[in-house]
């Protein structure tokens, strides 16, 4: 019996999921064609006129697009510097807590923000930072002038990264905590015998021990760079803050689904995918060189 026939039922089972992947994951990849055509909803992809690189030229020469691109990069760099290390540091500190009951208590509380929806968190931010909201009340009590946080472009990045940390630090620490418990205790004992203090142990035993997990998480973070925090930004931004808040994904959303500029938005989406591809592959290669292995 051929190999395929032997596992007939397994392939039958896979049929439904595979159809799903074909239609909803690979299908859109062919939709990229829309970027090269004057897409018309009624004529469909095949009936629409060929436009070549017209839309690519349109956004590549638009200074507003490059500002949007800059915002995307800046937010991601901030995320890498401020948001990415916090779960690691939190996990390391939790690991050092000797009081087990307190540690479980802290963990229980710390994971909660992750389960709150983006809308809830954005709602909290908008209201706490409003003119008469919690933060401005505190500022007034301390004698200061209320600040219109949500209207000021210069505050946006801080607000965004701050809320990401608030929501993600606890949850993302789980995987690092799991990795920390996997480090061989004998290595620590050997280090103690060699006279290592807490900080040397951290540098020579702990960090190398969890480096592969850090690498994987870092690669995944880089892979998501182009689609950074889309929903939250959508809920938090407004006209006055577009200057720093508008990122590629929100730009694509507005131009594509609100303004119905389908071909243009798809063309920008291609840019997004290409950059994401380049980033992930390069980061993976660097990881391989540094660590000996990458994600693929």
């Amino acid at each position: 019996m051929s190999k395929l026939a032997k596992h007939r039922s397994l392939y039958l089972m896979l049929a439904i999921p595979l159809v799903y992947f074909l239609i909803f994951e690979y299908g859109p990849m062919f939709g990229v064609l829309m970027a090269f055509k004057d897409f018309n909803l009624i004529k469909g992809i095949w009936g629409s006129k060929w436009a070549g690189f017209k839309y690519f030229r349109e956004y590549l020469t638009d200074p507003y697009f490059w500002n949007v691109f800059k915002n995307t990069i800046v937010l991601n760099v901030y995320a890498l510097i401020f948001y990415f290390p916090t779960p690691i540091i939190f996990a390391l500190l939790l690991h050092e807590l000797m009081w087990k009951k307190f540690r479980s208590f802290v963990q229980t509380i710390a994971y909660i923000p992750h389960f709150l929806s983006t809308v809830v968190v954005a709602g909290m931010i908008v209201n706490f930072l409003s003119a008469s909201g919690l933060i401005n009340q505190i500022i007034s009590r301390l004698g200061g002038e209320p600040i219109m946080f949500m209207m000021k472009a210069e505050w946006f990045r801080t607000i965004y990264i701050g809320s990401e940390i608030w929501q993600g630090m606890g949850w993302n620490s789980i995987i690092y905590l799991a990795a920390l418990t996997a480090v061989d205790p004998q290595l620590y004992e050997a280090a103690t015998i060699d006279g290592a203090n807490r900080w040397r142990k951290l540098w020579h035993v702990t960090l190398p021990g969890i480096s592969s997990v850090i690498t994987v998480m870092l690669l995944m973070q880089i892979g998501k760079m182009m689609t950074v925090g889309f929903e939250k930004i959508l809920l938090l931004y407004s006209g006055p803050t577009y200057k720093t808040a508008d990122v590629i994904q929100t730009f694509v959303y507005r131009r594509g689904l609100i303004d119905s500029d389908f071909s243009f938005a798809t063309a920008v989406g291609v840019f997004q995918s290409v950059i994401a591809f380049v980033l992930v592959i390069s980061a993976n290669q660097i990881a391989k060189k540094v660590n000996g292995h990458g994600l693929f």
């Binding site: 395929l4 032997k6 596992h7 397994l10 089972m13 896979l14 439904i16 999921p17 799903y20 992947f21 239609i23 909803f24 690979y26 299908g27 859109p28 990849m29 939709g31 990229v32 829309m34 500190l93 050092e96 807590l97 000797m98 307190f102 802290v106 229980t108 509380i109 710390a110 994971y111 909660i112 923000p113 389960f115 709150l116 929806s117 983006t118 809308v119 809830v120 954005a122 709602g123 909290m124 209201n127 008469s132 009340q137 505190i138 007034s140 789980i174 995987i175 103690t192 997990v213 889309f230 929903e231 694509v252 594509g256 689904l257 389908f262 938005a265 798809t266 989406g269 995918s273 994401a276």
Partner: protein, 285 residues
């Protein structure tokens, strides 16, 4: 373990953790406190750590609001249907991929994992849903995201840990793959199924964007959309007439508390399951 002396580091660590706990929990506590305070106290800015002029009018209004109740019902419905779809699709994908003898297994796995990183883009995805005639139907909320690849891999890992002997003895008893899946594998997989149900449920409960772009009918809108309308956009035209003893902030925060209560109530069970799930994932690496 050698007994350790409590040093300065430990004291600072505990203090830092206390601050983290406070910063994490206070916003939720604050919203609750404001939601049960009187409108005048809130307007005066008197409310910070304790409620003042305690009344439950905000909650009364929230729980009587037909738009909110309808949306809540929608979300419950969508979560139940969505999780069912997720479980069926994810299991039908994970089980065959967990069988080592399956020809083409690695290639299929690679093709599937590829989709975790690379994407056709927002507009093409919308167009696929549109061309299938699913726009403004509830199926647009579950079908395009029927399988979360990360969760599917978790499930596959779990399935592949079931000893081969069990499969072999079942085959000798004349069981085909379908029967094995239903009679043997699934009963053994309750922990991972529980984890899946929880992860997917939270995902559907909190889902906002698909409803935003695919649902035009107001009657189909889930909780998160109404939440956005009221809490972020401040759209309370229908409710303002009734707000005598309370102000917008009371109502908004009461609504948020009502919206997150199910999540918080289920949270202890979540904790147990996701720590298990994360461990499974970490072991696979």
């Amino acid at each position: 373990m050698l007994a350790k002396r409590i040093g300065l580091f430990d004291v600072i660590n505990v203090a830092l953790m206390a601050v983290i706990v406070f910063v994490t929990a206070f916003p939720i506590y604050y919203m609750f406190v404001v939601s049960i305070s009187s409108g005048t106290a809130v307007m005066r800015g008197d409310v910070m750590f304790w409620p003042k002029g305690i009344n439950f009018d905000a909650y009364r209004l929230v729980l009587q609001d037909s738009a909110i109740l309808h949306a809540y019902g929608n979300t419950i419905k969508y979560t139940l249907i969505g999780v069912t779809v997720n479980l069926i699709f994810t299991t039908l994908c994970a089980y065959p991929l967990s069988r080592r003898q399956l020809y083409g297994r690695s290639m299929l796995t690679v093709l599937i994992i590829f989709t975790m990183f690379f994407d056709g883009g927002l507009i093409p995805r919308y167009m696929v849903v549109h061309s299938l005639g699913l726009v403004n139907t509830i199926w647009a909320l579950f079908l395009p995201t029927a399988i979360n690849v990360f969760y599917m891999i978790l499930m596959r890992t779990f399935f592949s840990n079931i000893p081969e002997e069990i499969h072999e003895s079942a085959t000798m008893d004349g069981a085909g793959e379908w029967r094995k899946l239903v009679r043997i594998v699934l009963p053994l997989s309750m922990p991972v199924m529980a984890t899946m149900i929880i992860f997917y449920s939270v995902h559907h409960w909190n889902s906002f964007f698909p409803a935003l772009i695919y649902l035009n009918d107001k009657s189909l809108q889930p909780l998160q959309i109404i939440l956005r309308n009221i809490v972020i956009d401040g759209d309370m035209a229908e409710q303002s007439a009734e707000m005598v003893t309370i102000v917008a902030q009371n109502f908004k925060y009461a609504f948020v508390i009502v919206a997150i209560t199910p999540i918080l109530a289920v949270y202890p069970f979540l904790q147990r399951c996701f720590v298990q799930g994360a461990m499974l994932g970490a072991v696979k690496g």
